[in-house]
Symmetry: C2
Subunit: 340 residues, 2 copies
């Protein structure tokens, strides 16, 4: 078979990942055995959770071993199939990782119908990030008409969906994003009621202005300074789904948050709900998600934006950028053409 290319974890990062933490390797594209399929990667999804897999701190999933291929969701094409359930040319959702070719058994694959939507959406608005937004907001956040929902990284894959779903449910959506362009997009294109620049020195005051009736749902995907600004504005019975803390992922030491001493008192007196989740906790909601989200995308009620980096060799730099908000929309890496 042909020559493949993959990105392995060369060493565990301390603080921000560097290019030297990754290594690009060539390898012989493998030959599928009985019941296996050979996949060619078309799209690689880059997502903040991958920073966690680079560390060996205890988490909800095992780390990538040093020398192992970086994990990741992909949209792939079946090149050779020894599984009766898949045919050459099928487009599938896989976890093939940061590499051009991979073996899989059919059980780990989901077929994608290219007629329904662009295939890249299977790792975006109709995939894991979209479902994270949908389940976290609706199962934990439960926004009611007239309530205020705040979400950071509001132009990103998860945050953009959170605010738009909040609007669909009749809530007020306030986003926080990095810079004027992103904020303009979040307000102008996505229809959030307001969007604030997290780099503004007076974020706390601006957020208070933007949320005159306080905050009922804070969808936590960044942590750090944004939560500091959110904390005093939380209303009685506010809900805080927690799916990510990107602002902390590169931290070698997390500073003591300003809210720490008053946290539990606020939980009690305001009857707050703080709940962590990952998308697989809500696997039972997958059919509901696909039905609702496909419809909203079709109707133009949920818009999404892709930010495409070309070539596997550029994935490490793209990922380092993602952790700093350099992307504008869902970060994808194009590994190969839609059709070989």
């Amino acid at each position: 078979m042909s020559q493949g290319q993959r990105v392995v974890l060369a060493s565990r990062p301390v603080g921000e990942p560097k290019l030297s933490n990754f290594r690009i390797e060539e390898y012989e594209s493998p030959v599928p055995g009985e019941g296996q399929v050979l996949l060619r990667t078309i799209w690689l999804s880059l997502d903040p959770y991958m920073r966690g897999r680079m560390s060996d701190a205890p988490s909800y999933a095992a780390p990538v071993p040093v020398g192992g291929v970086m994990e990741g969701g992909t949209v792939s094409e079946v090149m050779v199939s020894n599984d009766a359930g898949f045919a050459k040319g099928d487009i599938v959702l896989s976890r093939a990782g940061w590499q051009t070719h991979a073996l899989s058994d059919g059980k780990a694959l989901t077929r994608i119908d290219p007629a329904i939507a662009p295939i890249s959406t299977a790792v975006g608005v109709l995939g894991m990030p979209g479902m994270t937004a949908y389940t976290g907001l609706l199962e934990i956040g439960k926004p009611q008409p007239g309530e205020t929902v705040v979400v950071a990284a509001a132009s990103g894959a998860v945050g953009s969906a959170v605010g738009q779903i909040a609007k669909i449910k009749g809530a007020r959506a306030v986003g926080i994003a990095g810079g004027k362009d992103k904020c303009d997009y979040v307000k102008g294109e996505l229809g959030f009621d307001d969007c604030l620049d997290h780099r503004a020195p007076d974020l706390a005051a601006k957020l208070k202005e933007a949320c005159p009736k306080g905050i009922d749902v804070y969808f936590e995907n960044v942590g750090g300074a944004v939560f500091e600004a959110v904390f005093p504005l939380l209303n009685t019975f506010a809900r805080i789904p927690v799916c990510g803390l990107i602002a902390q992922y590169n931290a070698t030491e997390v500073p003591v948050p300003k809210w720490a001493p008053s946290m539990m008192r606020a939980v009690l007196t305001k009857r707050l709900t703080i709940r962590g989740f990952i998308v697989t906790d809500f696997a039972a909601q997958h059919a509901d998600f696909l039905r609702d989200m496909s419809q909203w995308v079709r109707e133009g009620k949920v818009k999404h934006k892709e930010f495409v980096t070309e070539g596997l060799e550029n994935a490490p730099a793209a990922f380092m950028g993602l952790l700093k908000g350099a992307n504008f929309g869902k970060q994808l890496v194009r590994i190969g053409p839609d059709r070989a």
Copy 2:
């Protein structure tokens, strides 16, 4: 009418309440108007939440004004009734506060049937503390068979019910209490699987031993050092109903908890649920509570202990003791005889 006695808030405490923060006053027992009843207090319930009412810090309920009668739940007898729904001699649950006589309209009263259980249980195991345990544990904690439930103040009105209900639901119950006598009672009489003395210097190590499979539900009613010991032992998907923080109520400054920097990361990676509540949030569960708890008390599955202080004039000292764990069981003050 006759002479009454009441305890008013003389001044707001800073730190631990002192006797000088209370004042005992004599007053003319009032005369009921149209639609009102005159009540004579039999039992006054003392509960930790009252410390919150003595302060003017923002909370879920308005503070007692300086010079106002201290608030509190009571078991009272109807002396004179101008409300067709109540007759002289009726025993009622009221919020008459720290005083011997009070006026009420019937809407704020619940009739108590002395044939069902001792009337004092209406402010104890069959009242607010029992319902706090029942709703917080079952609606938020949701213990499953084989899981481990930890609760502090385990010989108290709320904690004792939490552990016993956990056992009824098939969970392992581990209590924390102050001193050997209380711990012996919690294990020997109440049937908890284990009970630890919170004064032990090695509480964290002891708790780890007592919870070999980690902690699935931590019913938070004290805060402080106990939560420090609990935090590292929380399992994935652990639930933390928060109904009180008695260890902090007298604090003029809350120290930064050790868990603070890793709190949100633990919420995320362990998918914790932390939720504050007060008993009135679950008013819809009142009928279920009364049905289940009355049955459990009748069957001997839920035992309870009362700690009675005699005389309204001793209520301030009893309350100060309650905040330090001087009581052993549900703290009551007997204000008058069962029958006048």
